[in-house]
């Protein structure tokens, strides 16, 4: 994901290298943050805060190889914080049109892709009843294609716990698909 030399340069306080690192890391961080929060501005804030945290704690990173895990861990934790705050002001529930939109995309075929706004609506609706942990496990494994080991390192959860959460998340989403689509 990132050249170890670039991380070493950032560790030495090179801001130009860090700018490059932001350019490389931000899309990955944004993808996870946006899928978890369903809000572009909030996701951008999370990316921004994550990169500031990374700069301040770059010296603590053990090796360049663990950078990816470290980046995602910070993003996921910041998303949890945002989700907790968001809980106080829950969004309005999606209506029948959302399910029609999801249904249409499925029937359009597997090559179909969604815009950011549509992705947010679909993920938001499907993961509505999931806890933050279940949601993060589903997004990291099923959407970001990560392994259980990687997710375990990122979230700090045990593998068994991850599997249980993933099972519940898939089951819940499957039930919603059966019910509404």
């Amino acid at each position: 994901m990132v050249d170890p030399e670039l991380i070493e340069q950032c560790r030495n306080g090179n801001l130009q290298s860090f700018r490059k690192l932001i350019g490389i890391s931000s899309p990955f961080a944004f993808s996870v943050a946006f899928r978890m929060l369903g809000d572009e501005d909030l996701a951008k804030d999370v990316v921004q805060e994550t990169m500031v945290t990374i700069w301040s704690k770059l010296s603590k990173i053990r090796s360049a190889g663990s950078y990816k895990t470290w980046l995602y861990r910070i993003v996921v934790n910041k998303c949890y914080d945002q989700m907790r705050r968001k809980k106080k002001n829950p969004e309005e529930r999606a209506d029948e049109r959302t399910w029609t939109l999801i249904s249409n995309h499925i029937s359009d075929g597997p090559d179909n892709t969604l815009e950011n706004r549509e992705t947010a609506i679909v993920i938001g609706q499907l993961t509505e009843k999931l806890s933050p942990k279940q949601k993060s496990v589903f997004i990291l494994i099923d959407l970001e294609d990560m392994t259980t080991e990687e997710v375990s390192e990122i979230t700090g959860m045990s593998r068994r716990n991850i599997k249980a959460n993933l099972h519940y998340a898939r089951k819940n989403i499957g039930e919603m698909i059966v019910k509404y689509i």
């Binding site: 932001i22 931000s26 500031v52 999801i102 679909v122 698909i177």
Partner: protein, 181 residues
């Protein structure tokens, strides 16, 4: 593969392919570098007094602990209230009955005698005797009568030196009580 699984699979496929696009990455770079170079300014912008003082309420284990403690205190409160009510009802059963409320058969004086006998015992437990106003009046009358008789007796003894001497000797012999004349 059943239709539900197919629907789930194709929806997941669409979501995987629809990777959220990060627009305005330069803006994020600028903001991050700005926050790094002027950390105080950024902190002031983000400073939230409520979160600063009460941010800890978002921590899951703190919330759980607070709920547990609240439930414990509510239980304790209920227990204390029931204890107080029980004590009040117990005290109500020990209320002093006034003479006017004391309706019984014809007055024989037996109760007064029993009461006097009880009072004459030295080692009485506090609160073990309930006395009516009428009984107290009787007790006072009896005491006054005894005192006047006692005075007369003292006067007779003092008037007769032989009798006085005889009584004193008798008292010394018996050594039951000190009797100062």
């Amino acid at each position: 593969m059943d239709p539900e699984e197919r629907k789930y699979g194709s929806l997941l496929n669409i979501l995987r392919k629809s990777r959220p696009e990060l627009m305005g990455i330069e803006e994020i770079e600028e903001k991050v570098l700005n926050a790094i170079q002027h950390p105080g300014k950024k902190r002031r912008e983000k400073f939230n007094l409520f979160d600063y003082f009460f941010g800890w309420v978002y921590i899951r284990w703190v919330r759980v602990s607070l709920i547990t403690v609240s439930v414990f205190f509510i239980g304790l409160f209920i227990y204390q209230q029931s204890l107080i009510l029980r004590r009040i009802s117990l005290l109500e059963s020990q209320t002093i009955i006034t003479g006017s409320q004391f309706v019984r058969g014809p007055y024989s004086g037996l109760e007064d005698k029993l009461m006097l006998k009880k009072l004459s015992r030295r080692n009485m437990n506090a609160g073990s005797i309930t006395i009516t106003e009428k009984q107290l009046e009787k007790f006072a009358d009896s005491y006054n009568e005894l005192e006047s008789k006692y005075k007369d007796l003292i006067k007779i003894i003092e008037d007769d030196p032989d009798l006085k001497k005889s009584v004193e000797e008798k008292l010394k012999e018996t050594n039951k009580k000190k009797f100062n004349l």
